[in-house]
Amino acid sequence: MTRDEIQQKLIDIVRQEKDIPDEKLTPGTLLTDAGVDSLDALTILFAIEENFHISIPDDKARAIKTFGDMVTVVEELQKT
């Protein structure tokens, strides 16, 4: 799966969990600026794990600050 494909799938997942306007769903947007609180983030990560059949370790999960970070983590974990 290419980075673009991962990003598109992530956007779909995030949209299912939380109403976020398009302009805030960019790779550089901080999750907190997009209105994603800690519980939302846990729910989104859970949905990502389910959809991509991966397990995101706690330290990697804690390091995610932006949507772009999410894409990178998924990309890395898919390679391994």
Binding site: K18, L39, L42, T43, L45, F46
Partner: protein, 400 residues
């Protein structure tokens, strides 16, 4: 003594969203019980319930369990009616929302994944969505209520206790304004199955609207339901200062325990709660009782005995559960809101499906049709499993 005004009423019920549809159902004697459509009932014997129609709540307040979403919808309507604006001190503004079973949908869905679908984990919001105080917390956060806030859990008496405790918080001077009520959403596969095992459900899948028959000789049991209702309560002084429209007054609260059997009710515990609710009133003022009236064999006869012991046989007592079913911990609040909108409109809500009177139930249950009458004060009875009883006395606009 501080008087406690009712300045807002909100409800979401099997009749739909809002006071107007609930009031119309009370007036017309219309059942809200139907075939359940929100879950797959093919493996259940019981396929009916007092389900809140999907269009009444879809899209509202995403990110909470179903019972919390119901609480938010009911509280929002009550707060809009109260129209408090910015005239409330946040630290003297509180929330008490009772529930019997909490976030059933969340837990049922989470455990189904593991036990049935063979998955290894449950969603991360399972705990904060399902906890019993989730609804009270959501309402507190949404309306910025920073004072007294918690959740009483006492089965079917939970929201009677919530309203009674909110009344006492204002009387004690601990709050100026309280949102009080109850919410429950128990129409999940596991909970319905558990009630089936108790053999107290009225299962008439072909005629859902006829299933619940309180006080009738051929009553078969209760019909599970869901929903929420909320009242805005405030001290009279606070309401008058902001020139609020007063809809009624809480004038008494009785709380007792049977200290007896887990599921068999006691007339003594119920009667003592009614007497406590009446302690600051003349009993002659009571013109209506909204009975607990579950339509189980045990409750209806026992409650009739209790009512006669306290008020004799002169006061009409109906069970609106015949129309909205038994929404567990939300039922007391739903019944107080349904009663007050009906009585303020000048009529008594009926007990529907009362075709075959039971000799052991010999009061005036307002059978089958609402009745034009203005009454100054009514009682709302709630008696929970575990022998926990709550009775709330309410003055209508006709008695103010």
């Amino acid at each position: 003594m501080t008087r406690v005004a009712i300045t807002g009423l909100g409800i979401i019920s099997p009749f739909g969203r809002g006071r107007a549809v609930a009031c119309a159902a009370m007036r017309d004697g219309r059942s809200g019980i139907r075939r359940i459509s929100s879950i797959d009932t093919s493996a259940l014997n019981c396929k009916i319930g007092g389900e809140v129609p999907a269009e009444a709540h879809q899209g509202a307040f995403k990110g909470f369990d179903r019972f919390s979403r119901f609480a938010l919808i009911a509280a929002e309507e009550a707060m809009q009616q109260a129209a408090t604006g910015k005239n409330v001190d946040a630290e003297r503004f509180g929330v008490i929302i009772g529930t019997g079973l909490g976030g059933c949908e969340t837990l049922d869905g989470a455990f189904r994944r593991v036990y049935k679908e063979g998955q290894s984990r449950v969603p991360p919001a399972s705990i904060p969505w399902s906890m019993y105080n989730a609804a009270a917390s959501a309402v507190s956060a949404h309306f910025g209520a920073k004072g007294v806030a918690y959740t009483p859990v006492s089965a079917c008496a939970s929201s009677a206790h919530a309203i009674g405790q909110a009344f006492q918080a204002i009387r004690a001077g601990d709050a100026d304004v309280m949102i009080a009520g109850g919410a429950d959403a128990p129409l999940t596969f596991g909970i319905i199955l558990a009630w089936e095992s108790m053999r107290v459900l009225a299962i008439d899948n072909e005629h859902p609207e006829k299933a619940c028959r309180p006080f009738s000789a051929d009553r078969k049991g209760l019909v599970l339901a869901e929903g929420a209702a909320a009242l805005v309560l405030e001290s009279f002084e606070h309401a008058q200062r902001r020139d609020a429209n007063v809809l009624g007054e809480i004038v008494g609260f009785g709380i007792t325990s049977d200290a007896g059997h887990l599921t068999d009710p006691s007339a003594d515990g119920a009667a003592r709660a009614m007497r406590l609710a009446l302690r600051d009133l003349a009993a002659s003022e009571v013109g209506y009782i909204n009975a607990h009236g579950t339509a189980t064999r045990a409750n209806d006869a026992t409650e009739t005995t209790a009512i006669k012991a306290v008020l004799g046989d002169r006061v009409p007592a109906s069970s609106t559960k015949s129309m909205h079913g038994h929404a567990m911990g939300a039922s007391g609040a739903i019944e107080i809101v349904c009663s007050l909108v009906a009585l303020n409109d000048g009529f008594l809500p009926p007990t529907i499906n009362l075709e075959n009177p039971d000799p052991a139930c010999d009061l005036d249950y307002v059978p089958n049709a609402s009745r034009p009458l203005r009454v100054p004060v009514f009682l709302s009875n709630s008696f929970g499993f575990g022998g926990m009883n709550g009775v709330v006395a309410v003055r209508t606009i006709h008695g103010l």
